[in-house]
Amino acid sequence: MAVLSPTQPTHRRGDPGQRPTRRVGFSQRLGRWDVKVSPYLYISPFFILFAITGLFPLGYTAFVSLHEWNLLGGQGDFVGLENYSAVLAQPVFWKSLVNTFSIFVFSSVPQVILAITIAALLDQNLRAATFWRMGVLIPYVVAPVAVSMIFGRLFADDYGLINELLGLVGVDPVGWHSERIPSHIAIATMVNFRWTGYNALIFLAAMQAVPRELYEAAVIDGAGRARQFFSITVPQIRATIIFVVITSTIGGLQIFDEVRMYDTYGLGGPDKDWMTTVVYLYDVAWGNQKNFGRASAVAWLLFLLIVVIGLINFLITQRIATSGPKSPKVRRRHTRALLAEARSAAAAGDTPHPQARAAAGPPPPPTFPPTTSTDHREDRR
């Protein structure tokens, strides 16, 4: 018997997802090639430009760090890791690391918390929303000379506004420039002032993408605002939280401008009390030593440190931002189990056994059909 099976199954109406599986036409091949190559094509403009403007300086700096290299004198001998060991032996380097870390903690932690709070406040149906939202970004655009003037007048030791106010209430003046921790706090304040609004808007943009139905459902369930925030908003914008934590870690460990404008010399004070590592790097390269090789070694050591701390922060944030007791895998398996139950129950004609349900986990929502698109869900960051 001749099997006159068609080479292609007939198109079934209402079944747009079906594709002919036998013959692979040219357009199919094109489509598959499209899928394979497109990702690389899309990232290539970035990487090509980046190779020139981002990678080249990186490689150059690495190359320089292995040589004795004076900024004006030019390239010297190859010295291997000697620059690195020389830097590690400098007490100023270690002092700058402690300063950097301290200023980082004072700046990044309050910043992220404040930014997400402000974003939550802004994520509401405000009157004149644009005004409120863009207003928080203004500190970012004020010129450094103006900012340093204002904060200088605030934080001056003898005639500064803050110390004057403290004097009015009978508190001793704070040594903003003569003591270590107050100087860190002052610098961190300047940094926070500049970047909090910026990060708040990043959070806000992410919060705008959270579907409003989730909040509506929560309100129906009687959830208060705080509960909504911690259980809906935070998990939904988890990827953005990670982004902000990482970028503010990277930025916070590289604080430079604020330290430079904190006093006249811009080198962290006579005791290097507030000198951060990038300022130390600048001093080694452009200062009295003009030691380009050593400065490059500092840059790469700092890079290692940032990577380590960035990773730590990433892991911490991932843990914190994942609220709720269930992980995706459990959820998927759970719902698949429920589906299977429901189908078999429908086939068998009776309701699912309460015990089986309890064993599988919390009961599914009674009014909504079980989700099927979990099957298509893929790994999300």
Partner: protein, 307 residues
């Protein structure tokens, strides 16, 4: 319940859009009815705004004042006055600086770089977030890691490169290094990973859209708030960037920060003039803020894939 989809099929796309808007408005109404912000919110935001705006207001005050008063008082006056405009006029017409050239250059640089950064970052971010390809993970980590190397030293190799290309003194030297940023790619990756559901992409693919079509019709609109913010941030950054332009450009072909800085002399700075200049230069940014702020719209995707 008439779905937007059915409306689209029967009454056309325009009507579908109107239906979608009606639905969104509806949900916003319910949202607003339930979550109208109270006085606490406005108070907290008010304090935040006061702190944020004060420095800019302070530059206005300084610009309305004169050097003697500025030297004598922490706050020279409490309200700006008309002498501010005198300072503006002086800045614009000053023979010491090339104001109009600087303005033109700043606009060109800022517009070109922000457009490019948004486009390239969204493309790359979309790929990293939603497409699968070999090396995706390590490449992304690599991109993020490059942000961790301090850029102060990169000035010298970049300068060497620019002078080899003979771009010193020309705008390309500032524009080209700013066309792509690791920050932008990382940001769009994170944003798209959470704001762009796979269902949409699959639906488009299922409908036979090519990759680029999918990007154009699905990813770009979904990325709107984030793209707006990224564009704004890049614009501001380039507009206020001082250090790199001060090295590769000069007072013949300046940008606005260079020009404003020239108003400062070492030993006798006319702060009222300098602050007037600073405010003048910040003004265009405020205008752009107002425009971009409107792009922060909630619920673009909500209601998009409803039955």
């Amino acid at each position: 319940m008439s779905s937007v989809a059915v409306t689209a099929q029967t009454a056309g796309r325009g009507a579908a859009r109107a239906a979608a808007k009606r639905r969104n408005r509806g949900s916003r109404a319910t949202r607003s009815a339930q979550r109208r912000p109270g006085w606490l919110t406005y108070t907290l935001l008010g304090i935040t705004l006061l702190i944020s705006i004060f420095p800019l207001y302070f530059t206005l005050l300084l610009g309305s004042s004169d050097p003697t008063t500025i030297a004598q008082n922490a706050v020279p006056q409490w309200l700006p006055d008309a002498s501010l405009f005198q300072q503006f006029a002086e800045v614009i017409s000053s023979t010491r600086i090339n104001f109009w050239k600087a303005l033109t250059n700043s606009v060109i640089i800022a517009v070109v770089t922000s457009a490019a950064v948004v486009l390239f970052s969204t493309l790359a971010g979309y790929s990293f977030a939603k497409l699968r390809f070999r090396g995706r993970g390590p490449l992304l980590v690599f991109v993020i890691a490059t942000m961790a190397v301090p850029t102060q030293l990169g000035v010298i190799p970049m300068y060497i490169l620019m002078s080899d290309l003979d771009w010193i003194g020309k705008l390309q030297a500032v524009i080209v290094p700013g066309l792509v940023t690791a920050f932008g790619v990382f940001w769009m990756t994170q944003y798209l990973s959470e704001a762009l559901p796979y269902e949409l992409i699959e639906a488009a693919r299922v409908d036979g859209a090519s990759m680029i079509r999918t990007f154009w019709s699905v990813a770009l609109p979904a990325a709107r708030p984030a793209a707006a913010m990224l564009g704004l941030f890049t614009f501001v950054q380039q507009w206020t960037n001082f250090f790199w332009p001060s090295i590769v450009l000069n007072s013949e072909n300046p940008t606005l920060p260079l020009v404003v800085r020239s108003l400062q002399a070492n030993f006798f700075t006319d702060y009222s003039l300098v602050m007037g200049g600073i405010f003048l230069v910040t003004l265009p940014l405020l205008v752009i803020f107002a425009f971009v702020g409107k792009q922060l719209v909630a619920g673009i995707m909500a209601g998009a894939v409803k039955g």
